[in-house]
């Protein structure tokens, strides 16, 4: 079942923006994620990505995530992933990226972590 | 220089001679001012020989002799001085200066003979 990929903005906290992802993050949809994240990117701005609704993460999806973490870092922002869906979790762990990415169980935890 | 001969025997000079004497007299003056006293003397002696009565010539000659005599006297040549001054007396026997000079010369000669014992 292929969900329609969408990225929705949700109210963040302080200097942190919040984006919720839905659907399949693959070669076709990865650029959309990057577009959306570029919109909320600003100097010193942080980002929380809620991946609860992500049904599939392909290599392009991983690529997009890594790129956007790097981009935010260049502008002194931090990115945290929250509420990973099983698909997201599987791929992240498969590539051992759980050691390199900031991951929280819930959105709130991620937002709190960035507030500090 | 030939000593002029005694005066009285001479005839009176002619006018021409007077003129000549005058001319010579002037030449003598000129020579004297030209620092040629010997020429002057000669001129005047010649003038006197022509016209012994020329007053200027006589005066000039007297002066000349007196001076030359004084020179000789100062140089210690008493005899020369005496001779020269006696020439003055021939021109004018009563010339007081010449007389005084001669007397002095004589006295000096006597004195010298007295002190040193020679002439």
């Amino acid at each position: 079942m292929q969900d329609e990929f969408k990225v929705t903005s949700a109210p963040g906290r302080g200097r942190t923006a919040l984006l919720r992802l839905h659907g399949s993050l693959d070669a076709r949809t990865a650029p959309l994620l990057l577009e959306k994240s570029a919109e909320v990117q600003a100097n010193g701005q942080n980002l929380v990505l809620n991946l609860a609704g992500v049904s599939f993460v392909g290599s392009s999806g991983i690529g997009a995530l890594l790129i956007l973490v790097e981009q935010f870092q260049e502008q002194s922002g931090k990115v945290r992933l929250a509420a990973l869906s099983p698909a997201a979790e599987a791929v992240v762990k498969l590539l051992s990226l759980d050691e390199l990415l900031a991951i929280d169980r819930t959105e709130d935890e991620a937002l709190e972590a960035l507030e500090r | 220089m030939s000593a002029p001969s005694a005066v009285p025997e001479r005839p009176t000079p002619t006018a021409e001679q007077e003129r000549e004497a005058e001319d010579l007299y002037r030449r003598g003056l000129a020579a004297l001012s030209a620092q040629r006293p010997d020429d002057a003397l000669r001129y005047w002696e010649l003038a006197w020989s022509i016209d012994p009565r020329h007053a200027g010539v006589c005066t000039a000659l007297e002066r000349e002799y007196l001076m030359r005599g004084m020179e000789a006297f100062a140089a210690g040549r008493l005899d020369d001085a005496t001779a020269l001054w006696q020439k003055v007396l021939r021109l004018d026997p009563a010339e007081p200066r010449a007389l005084a000079y001669l007397a002095r010369a004589r006295m000096q000669r006597d004195r010298t003979r007295e002190l040193i014992g020679k002439e």
């Binding site: 599987a90 498969l94 590539l95 | 020179e71």
Partner: protein, 717 residues
């Protein structure tokens, strides 16, 4: 050539005879004598001239004063004498001779005149002036008056005139007497004195010049000796001493030159000593290099390469490869703690002992134990040797080794394309006084085709970078080895050499860089799946496997999810595991779709799941990159093969290397993780493009048994 003779030869030309001086262009030199003399002349002239001028002025003044005084006296006397004469009738009779006498006695008088109070001349040396009026000469200036008697002294440019009044005994003025002197006469007298002065000056000048000449000649004579001495020293005769008996600065200069000569001599001796030491060092290095020859040995499929870059200081690294009686190959590498000749001696001891015992001690542990015993006596106190000794059995593909405190060896596994550190330990030789046999453990390494074992000394791992701060390190070593290993022993050796050289930059190596590479050449084909096996797998899959047909489109790949849910055994996998499989399979298919240039609709892919081991001969290989997911205990033995077939353009991602996610550049690129997904999820992946049945990709999936705990390090190539 004996060492002594060599040392002497390198000690320089201290004892050599003075060589003839090369002809040097002689600059025209101004002799000091001339300078001094000229100076003297100038000085004398100046001084003499100055003094003379001053003296003359004084003389003139004094002379003038004297003459003035005399003139005045004469005027006064004349006046006194004229007083009585003027009272006579004819004063000129007294005065003229008097005046005439005065004048004749002093010819320098310009005139003498006696005048009465009316200005009439009564006494004058020129009788013609008698009786005329006295006219004083022009330009007379009064110079002085004296006395109440109004005696005056006047002068103009040409004459000096003293006048005195002629006084009547009663005090009245009767007239005046003037005596005038020509000034030229004074000048004449002074001129005469000046001429005398000049002559004297000239005489003294010459005398002075002569004296100066002689004096300077005498003072400067030592300079000649000095120069000769310096030239001798310059020619190499450092033993002569200048013996100048001179107490002036020149003598001190001579002493300084002597000091310089002895300093030079000492410096020369020191340099000779240094050269001798350097020569010794060079000798030691040469000996050492002769003991350690780089080389390449081939034994069956095994290629052994050894190489060493000695540091500029003579180190004591040792590496050796030699044949053993039963076809085995002995491999030795050692690091001696001492340097210089001492280290070199230890190395040669080691070499000798090894060669002596190699045929009898066929156990590496035993060899090290014996070496330890022997070396303990011979090693100087405080120095020790770390050593690795191995015996390779080329036929069996096995390497037994033991280590005495040396670095652990690096073992590269071709199939996993990773390198790991094999165990090593033990104490260095000579480190402990106790017998160490127990502590030396023997290890075994099996080398398969493509595998390699690398030993080295810490000159490699501890090489400092350009800035001298960071070490090359074991990680980098392993990376380089992994990258070069597929190309064999020489490539590994070269890669390490290049890497360390580049790391160091311009810095010279501080320690010997020694490396020993043992490589079983060949591709890691054995144990994998060959084309024939692939085809028979395909056969079996067609018969009993689970198939999925896919059109050649990325969008269609989502069908894999449902298909997986249907596959036997796989459907029992845990959620995360299944997600991993899903991701991996979709990637594999996506690759084929993209690279195989399949035309949508017409061509397609086929994906099979074949449960079980597959055809005989397929052994369980190690994981490419084991998943970090904990295995589901219920599905502990889920294994089988996925087969992927397409008829598109054959391709083979041969040059894939595992991505190093620690490198942030990789993140920025954001691409190329597909193969990582596949390789991590699967045990192994084999590509068989262009088989009769099409392009095949075989992915072995399964869970290995628990591994016997050697530490593994995953390295990106």
């Amino acid at each position: 050539m004996t060492a002594e003779r060599a040392a002497r030869r390198s000690a320089g030309t201290a004892a050599a005879p003075a060589r003839p001086l090369p002809a040097r262009a002689v600059r025209p030199v101004m002799s000091l004598r001339w300078i001094v003399s000229l100076a003297m002349v100038a000085l004398t002239v100046v001084v003499g001239g100055g003094v003379g001028a001053i003296a003359e002025r004084r003389a003139r003044a004094e002379l003038t004063a004297e003459i003035e005084t005399r003139l005045r006296l004469e005027a006064r006397n004349l006046a006194l004498t004229s007083a009585s004469a003027l009272l006579t009738d004819y004063p000129e009779l007294t005065l003229v001779p008097l005046v005439r006498q005065m004048q004749s006695r002093q010819p320098e008088l310009a005139w003498v005149v006696v005048v009465d109070r009316n200005g009439v001349i009564h006494g004058h040396s020129d009788v013609r002036r008698l009786g005329t009026l006295y006219v004083p000469p022009a330009g007379l200036e009064l110079r002085s008056t004296a006395g109440a008697a109004q005696e005056t002294l006047q002068a103009n440019a040409g004459i000096l005139m003293a006048s005195a009044p002629i006084l009547h005994p009663g005090g009245q003025v009767l007239g005046e007497a003037h005596v005038a002197l020509r000034r030229a006469s004074i000048e004449r007298r002074l001129a005469g004195a000046r001429r005398q002065q000049f002559v004297a000056l000239a005489v003294f000048l010459m005398a002075g010049v002569g004296a100066a000449f002689l004096l300077s000649a005498r003072l400067l004579r030592p300079l000649g000796a000095l120069r000769a001495g310096i030239e001798r020293i310059g020619a190499g005769d450092l033993d002569t001493r200048l013996a100048l008996d001179d107490r002036t600065e020149i003598g001190r200069l001579a002493e300084a030159v002597n000091a310089m000569a002895s300093d030079l001599k000492r410096a020369q001796a020191q340099r000779a000593e240094r050269e001798r030491l350097a020569h010794e060092m060079e000798l030691a290095q040469r000996i050492q290099r002769s003991l350690v020859a780089p080389g390449r040995t081939v034994a069956g499929p095994f290629v052994i390469e050894s190489a060493q870059r000695p540091a500029t200081e003579v180190g004591g690294d040792y590496v050796d490869v030699f044949e053993l009686p039963d076809g085995g190959i002995g491999l030795a590498i050692a690091d001696v703690s001492g340097k210089g000749l001492a280290g070199c001696l230890v190395t040669s001891m080691l070499s000798a002992l090894l060669r002596a015992f190699r045929t009898t001690h066929l156990s590496p542990a035993a060899m090290l134990a014996t070496l330890d015993e022997r070396m303990r006596e011979l090693l100087p106190r405080g120095s020790f040797v770390t050593m690795f000794y191995g015996i390779l059995e080329p036929g069996a593909g096995r390497l037994r080794y033991a280590s005495a405190g040396h670095n652990p060896p690096l073992v590269y596994r071709a199939r996993q394309r990773t390198a790991t550190w094999a165990p090593a330990g033990g104490l260095p030789l000579g480190a402990s006084r106790a017998k160490v046999t127990r502590v030396v453990r023997e290890e075994l390494v099996e080398l398969e085709p493509g595998d390699a074992l690398i030993q080295f000394t810490d000159g490699i791992s501890e090489a400092l970078d350009r800035a001298g701060r960071e070490q090359f390190g074991l990680e980098r070593m392993a990376q380089r080895v992994c990258a070069a290993a597929p190309e064999g022993a020489a490539a590994i050796r070269q890669a390490l050499d290049d890497a360390v050289t580049a790391w160091r930059g311009e810095r010279p190596p501080f320690d010997d860089e020694t490396v020993l590479v043992v490589c079983r050449e060949g591709t890691a084909a054995g144990g994998g799946v060959g084309d024939d096996e692939a085809l028979s797998l395909l056969d079996e899959a067609t018969r009993r496997g689970r198939r999925l047909r896919l059109p050649a489109s990325l969008a269609a790949l989502v069908r894999i999810d449902d298909w997986l849910a249907d596959c036997p055994v796989l459907r029992d996998l845990g959620g995360l595991e299944r997600e991993c499989l899903r991701a991996a399979l979709r990637e594999a298919c996506a690759n084929v779709v993209e690279h195989g240039q399949l035309r949508d609709g017409e061509d397609g892919l086929e994906l099979w799941w074949l449960e079980g081991d597959g055809p005989a001969g397929v052994t369980d290989a190690g994981t490419d990159a084991g998943p970090a997911v904990a295995p589901d205990p219920a599905a502990a033995v889920a294994r089988g093969h996925f087969l992927l077939r397409d008829q598109g353009v054959p391709f083979r991602p041969d040059d894939w290397r595992p991505t190093d996610f620690h490198d942030r550049r990789v993140w920025r690129r954001g691409r190329g993780f597909g193969l990582d997904l596949i390789h991590r999820a699967m045990e192994r992946v084999d590509y068989h493009p262009g088989t009769p049945a099409g392009n095949l990709t075989i992915m072995a999936f399964g869970r290995p048994g628990a591994r016997a705990g050697r530490e593994e390090i995953r390295h990106a190539g």
